[in-house]
Subunit: 441 residues, 2 copies
């Protein structure tokens, strides 16, 4: 019998908690869920929970000492204190966030625990690594030489729930949506390292065909380069990891960026109370022109004259008297509040996860493009596609640990076949499986 | 007899140290200069000095305890430990840097010392405040209602030393030149608060006529708004503080920014060894095109087709095989190293400080535009215009303190007539004086 502790009961936690709860009940394990706010559906599903604040050190330590396996769905910055306690009390730890330099620095202490600390075990990062490495392994077994690898993932809306000119609703952390891509992206393309500054990120996008969705767009993630050695692809000529969107989204987002609305540093001056006043403050002055006219002129000059752009921005009420949220806020904070409303996923909406890897490989008998594509739709409000794809890999890793089927210890991403093979196999039984296609190129 | 301690013997310290040294010798005061690197001209001028590191706490405290007046020309981040010691030992303190929130938080402790802590007492900030407030005071005495106030300052090169297509050489901290304007600028224009994002800062510039120089350009400083109450100008319709440049500089700098060369976050990938390779990494791919052709295409699309732009960038060797500095560096760090070489002020060059305030004022007998303009040229390598205008206000404040002519205590900027009137008067004897002009508008 194992004690299982989960930190985080937020919007991506549904699938993890429902599966973990059913599994624990069946096998006599005890599950406790901790968060500052506990949603009512936990109670409705009979899931044990504790309301608590992570920085309440003594109760955090008490619960971690009690547990055998700790899972965290907290925001990235909040994992560190949990990891410190898991080291102190020698507990297994699993999360779905990027392995930060701060966690990397704890590698020796983590190894000394003799337990598994598994990071990046969600969707992106997570399933992207696992599925890419599984196909890469089979390519290498066939003596294929990989020349190009690209991988794009998007948390999207299912076509039947796509009801706005952005073709987007928010299925994950809205702050990450607003701050996406800030910094300069690094990747490799056609033999050369490449840098793509933030202010060009959404206007120099990549186009790709995704079976089942059609032509899609993507922009590179901030740092692709550091994953080349982790994927065993130091020698490939092109290597890009990025974010997938429906066509039109990036052009619209580029307009918000060029306007200055994604800035999270400057405070909006006190006198500005409405969105049209904020646009008035940001747009170049044109004597006698309305805010809408100035917006059109700005878009023509800095973005494009495509009428879709104006439609997207008007649909967001950017030139209306809609009030800004009160308080000392940045444009990015105002935009986040607006988008949380405008791009709200309703209880009837179905979200969609799309992931596509593409390899160009030289085999002894020819050059091939191999595509591996995942499409997952949400089942309901708690088991969104996002919740399934983020939470189920974590659940499966916890289950394998509880069953003694994972012998690895120390700090890991799911880059080892001892991790990705059983997890991918188990994901298939939840309908999370990739379709592959090949063509000569 | 007073003991005077100066931290900082760098490139802006010449005028302060030469004047202070002569003054101390004449009046029986003792001057000691502390820095990690002591330039040889101090020795040649018989100025007492100590080589020392600011973070060597015991010697820092020993010297501050010894002194009566402490002046600091250290970089902004390094003032704080000095100020803490000046509070502990109750010593007067003077610098030429912005009053930071960290220093503001020490206001009660500073007031308890009964000593004067005078910040922003250099050029910009410093002379700009003092000269603006002196004219503003006389306007208000004449019952004028200020409708608009703009103030632009530039550390420039004298026309006779202007030998490059940027019309610029570096006369102050080169890192500040490269990182200038990062963030979104806040100001007020024609009755409305305005925000100007960094990626548009150098393409939406202001034009102005400066007597003696002709048509010049300026871009707003990051935060003008917070100076409105300090200048007693809460009610004005337009309020902008900014940076002055010769025409053409901002368009060129905008190209460097759009290319991504001012990014100080991302590390240049390891394989990139030359400037043309860095441009290759940053420019959009065009099959078969050279880096120069891609640069031209990029400039036409994102900046302008003005041939001056290409001339400026080629003059910087951006498309050449010139090696990048070694090590893990950002584009901004590489650019700084390049500009420190290309924009080097030679010993024969004369630098130039230009400052211009403009008021639009409603008087009972009409509406007037009042201009107040300062032009200061460098005398020699140590007494550059920058060194004179940054250092002499600090020297004069120290002299007034030594002579018991400043009765203010606590934390101040030179915004009080008890400070700006005697300092401006003394600056005139060094040839630092403003020319005023008025016209009906």
């Amino acid at each position: 019998m194992a004690n299982v502790l989960v930190f985080g009961a937020g919007r991506s936690a549904g699938s993890l908690l429902l599966e973990l709860s059913a599994y624990c009940r069946k096998h006599g394990h005890v599950l406790v869920v901790c968060d500052a706010h506990i949603p009512s559906w936990l109670e409705e599903n009979g899931i044990q929970h504790q309301i608590f604040l992570l920085d309440h050190e003594s109760s955090r330590k008490k619960w971690i000492e009690w547990s055998d396996i700790v899972l965290s769905l907290m925001p990235p910055a909040l994992h560190l204190s949990i990891i410190h306690d898991c080291i102190q009390f020698r507990k297994h730890f699993i999360n779905a966030s990027y392995l930060s330099p701060e966690i990397e620095a704890l590698r020796p202490q983590i190894e000394a625990t003799g337990k598994l600390f598994l990071t990046e075990c969600g969707l992106d990062p997570g399933i992207d690594h696992m599925s890419a490495l599984a196909v890469t392994k089979s390519i290498k077994e066939k003596q294929g030489v990989i020349q190009s690898f690209t991988s794009f993932t998007g948390g999207l809306i299912a076509p039947e729930s796509d009801t706005n000119p952005w073709h987007y609703k928010i299925s994950w952390n809205p702050r990450n949506v607003v701050l996406a891509g800030q910094g300069t992206a690094r990747f490799k393309q056609e033999g050369s390292p490449r840098l793509l500054p933030y202010h060009q990120l959404f206007s120099r996008t990549f186009s790709m065909e995704v079976p089942g969705l059609g032509t899609m767009e993507g922009y590179p993630n901030r740092d692709s380069v550091s994953y080349m050695p982790l994927y065993g692809m130091e020698e490939v000529s092109t290597f890009i990891r990025g974010t997938l969107r429906y066509p039109g989204y990036c052009a619209g987002w580029n307009a918000l960026l060029q306007l200055g609305l994604t800035d999270d540093q400057v405070l909006i001056p006190e006198g500005i109370k409405t969105w049209s006043e904020l646009l008035h403050a940001l747009l170049p002055h044109i004597p006698g022109a309305t805010v809408s006219q100035r917006l059109s002129a700005f878009l023509s000059k800095h973005c494009s004259s495509d009428p879709t752009l104006l439609e997207q921005l008007h649909w967001l009420d950017l030139t209306s008297d809609r009030p800004l949220p009160p308080g000392s806020i940045t444009p990015a904070m105002a935009l986040q509040a607006l988008l949380e409303d405008k791009w709200k996923l309703s209880s009837q909406d179905r979200d969609l996860i799309a992931m596509q890897h593409e390899w160009i490989v030289q085999f002894s008998d020819g050059r091939k493009k191999i595509k591996s594509t995942l499409l997952v739709k949400g089942k309901n409000q708690h088991q969104t596609a996002m919740a399934q794809t983020v939470g189920l890999p974590m659940f499966i890793a916890a289950r394998l640990l509880a069953e003694g089927q994972l012998s690895l210890t120390g700090l890991h991403r799911p880059l080892h076949s001892l991790l990705f093979e059983p997890i991918l196999k188990a994901l298939e039984s939840y309908g999370i499986h990739f379709s592959e296609s090949e063509e000569e190129v």
